[in-house]
Symmetry: D2
Subunit: 141 residues, 4 copies
């Protein structure tokens, strides 16, 4: 599966169509897009933390959901109507404050449904702090 | 299962221990706590919307995760160390902008794990817009 | 949502289209079908047990998956092409040997996807031993 | 993570502790065990099929659940008390009749919980037909 959009094109699309994701500052950004895969970065700020410095569950859920959307978009083109139908996440280890990388790969890109798997780890770390799978409904194309 | 905290006590606890949930304004609030159940309200603002006025997936995930935490806390007392281990959500219908209610009930409150089921619907509406289940690791008590 | 098939009609359909579910004996049967809901029974035999007399996880998964299929079929008519796309289950308590009832209710019956929620409990018991949600792809109709 | 049991030792353990999995014939077998990973084979027979020759959802769920149990057992030693607490599966593509391989890898092996990720594909095939994650409660050791 080859991407049909670059990381820059997707970032521009998100800026226009989903400006709310950058409310409070540009914490989420696209690190890379490649064949069947996309990597998103969350540069966590106080907004994303729980007491003790760990990154909140909802922040990691948002990272995975956004990265899943990006990898799908990268492979089907600029479509605003792809919507999450199912999202499931396992929290494995407590993350430290700092940047997180969500690496999502396409398990399936069908006519109506796309399924994505995401591993979330601290930037530069091997061990996953969370692992998610998400299913999106995609428009006919 | 009887609650051991009132809605007001839990709200105060959240204010002290998790002030970040109110960043950007008090959108999340506790509507009620009863036997085995809690209802949380999300008064959605622009921060929580996607274009077209629909409430974002991550906002609904945060609502369910927070409501699950509240119903567990209500029944085990003020503990900050309960953490989400698994979270799964199905998005059923597109929600309109406006208040959402997340009604979470305890499926299990064990020695180590608690499992919660949450239905999310527009305030005053019957039909669910989303349905989630979450598992929390709870500290020994 | 009103059913368009009776329990007897569905049972006959399953006999013709999915005879394998009764391999080893008629353990699975339809207890009832009503508006938006279906109840399936698993009369567990040695085939379904783990040592110690508890019913196996896969047997409960099969019960929930079958009950979900039945409640969907009951409301859309005799269609063999509805297929499970996502299935998720939480095991809450250890079940005793004996009959289990899976009560499934439709959360959504859309044009392309149906979402079902199932509670599994011992026959005559209140407390759930397991809780599942399943998403099915349904053919156009 | 290094295994503490060989495939042969685990197979012998399953024969003694869970003889029911081989009811109807030895369809499930352990292909291999390595660092952090295990591969199980399902040699599907009529018992595991749906009309049209495709392998049933519950058969694939059983394969993933068993393979998850095996990879955990391989790394913690002969323990019969590890139990599934959460299981979630996405069905991606229709499998052909024939052997399926479930490749499970440990995402986390903690003091109380183990989390496993499984990819299921036709023997010799690259593309996944299903993808699952499972959480097990493990006894103190």
């Amino acid at each position: 599966m080859q991407p049909v959009m670059t990381a820059q094109e997707i970032a521009g699309f998100l800026d226009r169509e989903f400006p709310q994701i950058h409310a409070g500052g540009r914490a989420y950004s696209i690190d890379s897009v490649s064949s069947g895969e996309a990597v998103m970065r969350l540069a966590a700020t106080d907004l994303h933390l729980r007491p003790g410095g760990t990154i909140s569950g909802p922040s990691m859920m948002a990272l995975a959901d956004l990265a899943a959307y990006v990898v799908i978009l990268a492979h089907i083109g600029p479509v605003a109507l792809a919507v999450t139908t199912n999202f499931s996440i396992n929290f494995l280890r407590k993350p430290e404050a700092g940047d997180l990388l969500g690496t999502c790969r396409l398990l399936k890109l069908g006519k109506r449904l796309a399924v994505v798997e995401c591993g979330i780890a601290g930037a530069g770390e091997e061990e996953l702090v969370a692992h998610a799978t998400a299913t999106y409904s995609v428009p006919p194309r």
